[in-house]
Amino acid sequence: MELVLVLLIGVLYSAGFFLILRRSMVKLLLGITFLGYGVNLLIFLLGRITKGKPPVIDETANFFTDLYADPIPQALILTAIVISFGLQSFAIVLLKRVYALLGSDDLDDLNTPEDDDI
């Protein structure tokens, strides 16, 4: 299981960085999304994967006597998912606006001479 996740994280990170380096804005967006998934899985993996051991202390004991699934990484991922959802929806709207203004999907076209306002 760990090995599969490690490979998947590697693929997501490399795909994400590759797409961010492309000139197309849609690919930039996909790259950011992939990186977000990669980070979330990384936190999940580094929190140690433990199957079928809920983080509940036994009634008779005062502390954990066995391995248990760490709930913190899941809380972190949940927060990170919500945040990246917000950021990505903002990014989509922004890039749509750019497309409407410029009529182009190419990041290299973002260099119109500076207008002089405010």
Binding site: I20, M25, L28, I32, L35, G36, V39, L42, I43, L45, L46, G47, R48, D70, I72, P73, L76, T79, A80, I83, G86, L87, F90, A91, L94, L95, R97, V98, L101, L102, L107, L110, N111, T112, E114, D115, D116, D117, I118
Partner: protein, 510 residues
């Protein structure tokens, strides 16, 4: 109960923002609420600073979950100083915005988002939990996205794409670092991390994790070679937004670098060398970028980059004197960079342009305003006894103590090129005769014509500049007060034991 009040500066900004949302339609009332709210928030920040300065470090355990298990807010002298400075800058910009932000922008929620941005900054300064720091960074960047794009001009949108892409990337890299740190130590509390990271034997793994933090915060604070997004986006938004960005957004990255790299990763030879190399290259590229730009705000953007290098160098030299210099520079820089962009806004409002070749004759026509701007510009250059001078003395001494002449050389060149850039600005915009062709003022400004405004409205743009200029004059003329302050902060940084004991209880020590 009283401990819970240390997050008052955060709560105050949140309530102002909510209160402003109630008056969504009434922009006139929004302006009033924004200014008075900022004054109250500044009083809260002053109270917090006085309390922390008098009584030592205060902590608040959120939800009464004791550290290291719950989220903890820590107000030590460093963070409360930063909160105070951000409140002062916030007040100045909020006054400036009442007159300079256009009606459309105010109607689309400029003021609430502005206060949410300041809330995010204060939260980032006060938190003692590294994941919580990430969340505050996200609050900051999402608010800054809105402020940057509000108005939707082509240049703004283009700048926003670069800004957005780089900042989201920085957050991802920062989050990767947090994930690795959690994997190594199993904790997120900064004080607890300080103890656990110090105990890890595999130093290469720790240095690898540290590099993630350097890159993440490096993008946010715009160090070489990660700064390119800054000069290509900071010249696009309205002056009020550019001022708060230039004054505070890069500095929160520097704050995080100082916090993380004095508490959690104490620099070893590898990190010190890395910081010095970054600092020297940042100073050089920023300085030479500023020297050639015709657009005033682009020039100031490169000066931000240049002066970020001075602060990073404090971490690289890592002795007390250099740290004091870097911290003094940080305090000075927040006030002066905010003021610089406000000055740029007024210059543009008077002259009708941001380009040096289209400006001129400011001194002849506006002598009093020009003298005020001269104080700001000379403080930036660091002409003694103004505020830019004293931190550089400490940085020089720190550089000589480490025998790091490489950095001392860069510092001298950086300071001289700053002087050159400001002299060029002074000659181009103030002394030179006004260009021959008259600009069509009504076409450029519409209703926003500063020259035709009534005097009361004009003074709304000048008062914040005076306010910040007085603060930086205080930093310069009463430098001994600031030296006592930065001496205290540098002490806390070099020996973080009081911080750790305040958070985790008296029994812990490194």
């Amino acid at each position: 109960m009283i401990e819970n009040l240390i997050i008052l500066p955060v709560i105050a900004q949140l309530f102002i923002a909510i209160f402003l949302l109630i008056f969504w339609r009434n922009t006139g009332l929004q302006k009033l609420v924004s200014v008075f709210g900022s004054i109250l928030a500044m009083l809260a920040a002053i109270w917090l600073f006085a309390k922390v300065w008098g009584e030592g470090i205060h902590i608040m355990n959120a939800g009464n979950w004791n550290a290291p298990f719950g989220i903890v807010f820590v107000a030590d002298v460093f963070s409360s100083t930063m909160v105070l400075l951000s409140s002062i800058a916030g007040l100045a910009v909020s006054i400036f915005a009442t007159a300079s932000v256009s009606r459309q922008r105010a109607q689309y929620g400029f003021f609430p988002v502005f206060h949410l941005l300041i809330m995010g900054l204060n939260g980032a300064f006060l938190t003692g939990d590294i994941f919580n720091l990430y969340v505050w960074f996200e609050v900051i960047i999402i608010s800054s996205f809105v402020l940057l794009t509000l108005g939707g001009r082509k240049g703004q949108i283009e700048g926003a794409v670069k800004y957005m892409a780089m900042n989201i990337l920085a957050s991802m890299i920062f989050l990767t670092g947090i994930g690795m740190l959690y994997g190594i130590t199993g904790t997120l509390n900064m004080a607890d991390l300080a103890l656990k990271v110090a105990a890890v034997e595999n130093r290469n793994l720790i240095n690898l994790t540290a590099v993630f933090f350097i890159v993440g915060f490096g993008i946010k604070s715009a160090v070489f070679p990660l700064y390119f997004w800054l000069p290509s986006s900071y010249h696009t938004p309205p002056s009020a937004v550019a001022a708060i960005f230039g004054g505070l957004l890069t500095k929160v990255g520097i704050y995080a670098l100082f916090r993380i790299f004095t508490l959690i990763f104490v620099p070893d030879l590898f990190l010190e060398t890395l910081f010095i190399v970054i600092a020297v290259l940042t100073i050089m590229t920023g300085a030479f970028g500023a020297a050639i730009k015709q657009n005033i705000r682009r020039m100031f953007s490169y000066l931000i980059v240049c002066h970020i290098g001075f602060m990073v160098a404090g971490l690289g030299l890592f002795n007390k004197v250099a740290m004091m210099g870097a911290l003094f520079y940080l305090i000075h820089d927040i006030v002066i960079k905010t003021n610089l962009f406000l000055v740029a806004g007024v210059i543009r409002n008077i002259g009708g342009s941001m380009y040096l070749d289209k400006l001129g004759g400011l001194y002849a026509n506006w002598p009093k305003t020009s003298i005020l701007m001269a104080i700001v510009l000379f403080s930036l250059v660091g002409i003694p006894p103004l505020s830019g001078f004293w931190p550089k003395i400490y940085l020089f001494e720190g550089g000589f103590m480490e025998a790091n002449y490489f950095f001392v050389g860069a510092l001298i060149i950086g300071s001289f090129v700053t002087l050159y850039a400001i002299a060029r600005l002074w000659v181009g915009a103030f002394w030179k005769d006004a260009p021959d062709e008259e600009i069509d003022r009504s076409a450029v400004f519409g209703v926003m014509d500063f020259v035709r405004w009534p005097r009361a409205k004009q003074s709304l743009l000048i008062i914040p500049i005076i306010l910040l200029a007085v603060v930086s004059l205080y930093f310069g003329l009463f430098a001994e007060h600031i030296v006592v302050l930065v001496d205290h902060i540098a002490e806390e940084m070099i020996d973080p034991t009081p911080y750790i004991q305040a958070v985790l209880g008296k029994n812990y020590s490194p």
